[in-house]
Symmetry: C2
Subunit: 210 residues, 2 copies
Amino acid sequence: MAGYVSDAVIRRLPGYYRHLRELEAAGVTQISSQELGRRMQLTPSQIRQDINCFGGFGRQGYGYKVSELKGHIGDILGLDRIHRVIIVGAGNIGAAVANYPTFSREGFETQAIFDVEESKIGKTMNGVTVRHMDDLEEYLAANPADIAVLALPAGVAQDTLDRLYESGVRAVWNFAPTDLNHSDDMIVVNVHLSDSLQILSYRMAHRDQD
Amino acid sequence: MAGYVSDAVIRRLPGYYRHLRELEAAGVTQISSQELGRRMQLTPSQIRQDINCFGGFGRQGYGYKVSELKGHIGDILGLDRIHRVIIVGAGNIGAAVANYPTFSREGFETQAIFDVEESKIGKTMNGVTVRHMDDLEEYLAANPADIAVLALPAGVAQDTLDRLYESGVRAVWNFAPTDLNHSDDMIVVNVHLSDSLQILSYRMAHRDQD
DNA sequence: TAGATTGTTAATCGATTAACAATC
DNA sequence: TAGATTGTTAATCGATTAACAATC
């Protein structure tokens, strides 16, 4: 199963997971592609196509079992395992990530936080100690991390990414507002908050033209 | 100019703006679609198509003037005007938004912050006073806002959005991890941090299969 | 002028939607 | 069984890429 899966499908998976979680919490046990499509603003066809990239999780004449489908999609997303996370940058965004309750619930465990500012070193955020950036390499050599969160200014992002790569980190969640050059065997997902706000601004500016 | 512009194009605009800003800062004054494509990992064809949705900003045999093109795209994105912003929720994400330096630079002015927690009321974040949620309607009646940032738990997001709509807010930047129902004349752009992290997780889980 | 590069039309590719046989 | 709904193939639609005449 799961041959080539297009980016368009992958980007929709978290939405499926979120809606199925909400349905499960609401006590809904069964759902058809039609009803799920209505809720998610997708066509039933698209939902069936998407789900069938990964296998036949439904039953003809019945639909999908909510908790079962949620389980499958969670597994596909890799939420069935623990991810060891470090946060680089103990500013507001680093703090927001460290304290975001959803992450730990989904298997993302923050194991260390790094910053350059002396006043922050040794303090804790959500129970995790802030260490000095100078100790990054030594820490990672002893405590490999699966994911590094880049929550620092654009100006130091590329250098920091290169240091992380040297220390064996192969997945980065980047909040710095710049595009980073990285080796093919490193996965970088950008958040780019400004981009998202600019899209809102665009839609406001062109509100009447659709 | 600017008839129908597809979502795919709109989503790329902030990337153009970001790269052109970086080029301008680096002292580059002229660029061809080929060179810009190399930097942004897009084909020259796509860049020319995208830009020509809005007008002929280039010159044959020469390319584009960096600062001119940046100016045009900034205007298209609506960055040529001031947006009055309120932040609803003074937690970590609200704080991160209030303190994000890029926003004020691009014309987004935070005018008020709201929260329910008594201990936070009256304090300031980046010079802006935190008010009580009970005062939301009264405040907005006297001080209309262009954009509201929703930085609060999923459970109260829909109610809050409805209150904002009632008070005349027509654009929302939503950080609550849930999809909101909203009237057609309201623009809602979601950030959904978890989605982005889950996509990283997916790529890690399927690293070898591409 | 010759060379370079755009603006724009045509061709291709991929994603979405429709349709329907399979089957619960 | 009859009705409903999936899984999957075919048709459509839209986005990306290629090509090239226009022109700086």
